[in-house]
């Protein structure tokens, strides 16, 4: 029997529910923690950012109007799919982050559990962050959290799966759509996560995944007038001030936290970060 030639995977972008190559045709080599070649990943350009934002905007209406219950079910389904790809994630995390297999498995399990945790939040967030306000007058007054829109996410550079899940899940759980720029040097688990999303029930365009050079893509995302908020957690330190200035140009919400310990209990900071509060006054007794 002849030796079998392994079929290696082409890592592509995830835009609007499809897996295109970069518009620019560029790729860049991805290595493991010790510098050995793993794969070529697509190197997205500013035009891919533009296409991703268009896709995210198009998906926003339907996703934000879906009932919280429905969004929760969709996200649980993603967790099921993640579980099915556990081995693949373990291998990619172990190679990319240079951790032993046992530690990688723990990180992947934590990521899946984190996803389930956020899936549970979809129909609880309005109860926790909303309110029936006491007002001096014959009115009912309610405050309700609403998704802010298209959120640009610069994913953590170090934690390629757990960190990514921890920043992405809260964005889409509350009904936003996301454009994610993955970890520059460890993008492979993100592309596999995109495949999971594509085969679960998440509508195309709700999550868009771009691999490439963060410093090249981040300024375009931060300045884009049709992006409503940016999460700068994976931004290079020296770029942060510039990115915040660019984001201020179109009055974006900016989440500027430093990288936390991703294995710790996350709290609802990230859920709260990309919500607007709508207050409704309704006449009483009419």
């Amino acid at each position: 029997m002849s030796d079998r030639l392994t079929v290696s995977k082409t890592y592509k972008l995830y835009l609007g529910g499809a897996f295109p190559r970069s518009e620019s045709g560029r790729t860049y080599p991805v290595t493991d923690a010790r510098g050995r070649f793993l794969a070529n990943a697509a190197q997205a350009s500013r035009k891919d950012v533009r296409e991703a934002v268009v896709a995210a905007r198009a998906a926003f209406g339907k996703w934000s109007r879906a009932t919280a219950y429905n969004r929760g079910q969709v996200l649980y389904r993603v967790a099921e799919m993640l579980e099915g790809r556990r081995e693949q994630f373990c291998a990619e995390v172990a190679a990319g982050e240079g951790v032993p297999a046992k530690r990688a498995a723990a990180l992947v399990d934590a990521a899946i559990d984190r996803w389930v945790w956020y899936a549970g939040w979809t129909d609880k967030v309005a109860t926790v962050l909303g309110a029936a306000n006491p007002v001096a007058g014959p009115y009912f007054s309610f405050s309700l959290p609403e998704p802010t829109g298209v959120v640009g996410v610069l994913a953590p550079q170090g934690s390629s799966l757990l960190g990514l899940v921890s920043v992405l899940a809260p964005v889409i759980a509350t009904g936003n759509t996301a454009v994610v720029v993955t970890s520059q040097d460890r993008p492979l688990p993100a592309v596999t996560l995109a495949e999971v999303l594509a085969t679960s029930d998440v509508p195309g365009g709700v999550v868009n995944v771009l691999t490439g050079h963060t410093a090249e893509l981040a300024p375009w995302l931060a300045a884009h007038a049709d992006v409503n908020a940016v999460d700068l957690v994976g931004a290079p330190q020296e770029l942060r001030a510039e990115l915040e200035r660019a984001a201020a140009g179109s009055v974006k919400r900016v989440l500027r936290s430093a990288e936390p310990d991703w294995t710790a209990e996350p709290g609802i900071t990230r859920l709260r970060a990309f919500l607007e509060t709508k207050t409704v006054w309704h006449p009483m007794g009419v």
């Binding site: 934002v53 905007r57 375009w220 300045a223 884009h224 007038a225 049709d226 660019a246």
Partner: protein, 320 residues
């Protein structure tokens, strides 16, 4: 042709419209369209890259060529008035944005548009002749046209009788266009071929020549109510027809693709086709128009992107 007549058709064309048989012989004698060739050429020209200053020029030119259109059953006077306000000043933040070519409405909305565009150098186009199907008697179609012209329309967009055309009654279509042209008076006549229903490029070429022979000032691809609407290859065939008409008679006739052109990228592809197929003379709002509504917003967003250096979004242009 050295001695070009600009008013009447040259003798060979006058002969072609003598009777039904002659017209049929002329239209079927037109060279066939090479389908693969025209599609390949359209796709090839569409890959041209237009950047920086040229792009800004193309965007402004395209804006000046837009026939800002609303043809809905739900149109109200208020909607027409806001459309006219947008036609006058497409982007209030940038007063240097050119005005659009015309607004295009149903005949009963012409009076509202005339009032709203008073004093502006913007055409008022009205569809007529039982738009969009064209299924009515000639007298009603003519009355429809007169109503729009009397209300103040400066351009009339008529539809041809596709049923008659497809069953080979070319003379009937020809005479109908003639009659509508006469009813238009001084208003410009755009003849809608509805290419989506003509099935072949050969038919598009024949219908284009038929409309040009009958005196249409513009040939327009579609009503926008039938899919496919305007496509690049079809527009190529029509641009070729006006180019050939100019070569034969010295007259400039216009082309208007309508329907399905929504992005700046599409619009620029059409402008490249205009330049390459018809000629630079046609890069003029008097000879080339876009029938569109959402295209204008995309042009304005792209214009802002070019000037600001970052991508713009739909929050910065009006919703219509």
């Amino acid at each position: 042709m050295s001695d070009v007549q600009t008013t009447a058709a040259p003798p060979e064309f006058a002969d072609a419209t003598r009777d039904d048989t002659a017209l049929r012989r002329f239209l079927h004698g037109l060279p066939g369209v090479d389908q693969v060739g025209v599609e390949q050429r359209a796709a090839g020209l569409a890959t041209r890259s237009i950047k920086k200053d040229s792009k800004l020029w193309a965007i402004d030119t395209a804006i000046s060529m837009v026939d800002l259109t609303t043809l809905e059953g739900a149109d109200t006077e208020g909607k027409v008035r806001s459309l006219c306000a947008k036609a006058r000043r497409p982007d209030p933040d940038f007063p240097d944005v050119p005005q659009v070519g015309a607004v295009c409405v149903y005949p009963d909305m012409v009076a509202t548009a005339v009032k709203a565009l008073d004093g502006a150098d913007i055409g008022i186009a009205s569809v007529a002749t039982a738009f969009p199907s064209g299924r009515s008697s000639l007298s009603i179609k003519l009355e429809d046209t007169r109503m729009a012209v009397e209300a103040g329309a400066t351009e009339i967009d008529m539809v041809i009788d596709r049923g008659a055309f497809l069953s080979g009654k070319y003379m009937r279509v020809f005479e109908e266009i003639r009659a509508v042209k006469a009813a238009c008076g001084s208003a410009h006549l755009k003849v809608i071929l509805e290419t989506g229903e003509l099935a072949t490029y050969d038919n598009v070429r024949r219908a284009s020549w038929l409309a040009l022979l009958a005196g249409g000032d513009f040939i327009k691809t579609s009503t926008g109510k039938v899919s496919p609407a305007a496509t690049l290859p079809v527009t190529h065939v029509m641009l070729q027809a006006v180019h050939d008409w100019h070569a034969a008679t010295g007259e400039h006739r216009g082309v208007k693709p309508a329907g399905g052109i929504r992005t700046t990228k599409d619009a620029i592809r059409y402008l490249v086709a205009v330049h390459e197929v018809a000629g630079p003379a046609w890069l003029d709002p008097h000879l080339f128009r876009f029938g569109a509504s959402s295209l204008l917003n995309d042009l304005l967003m792209q214009r802002r992107t070019q000037l600001a250096g970052h991508y713009s979004g739909p929050d910065y242009v009006t919703v219509d």
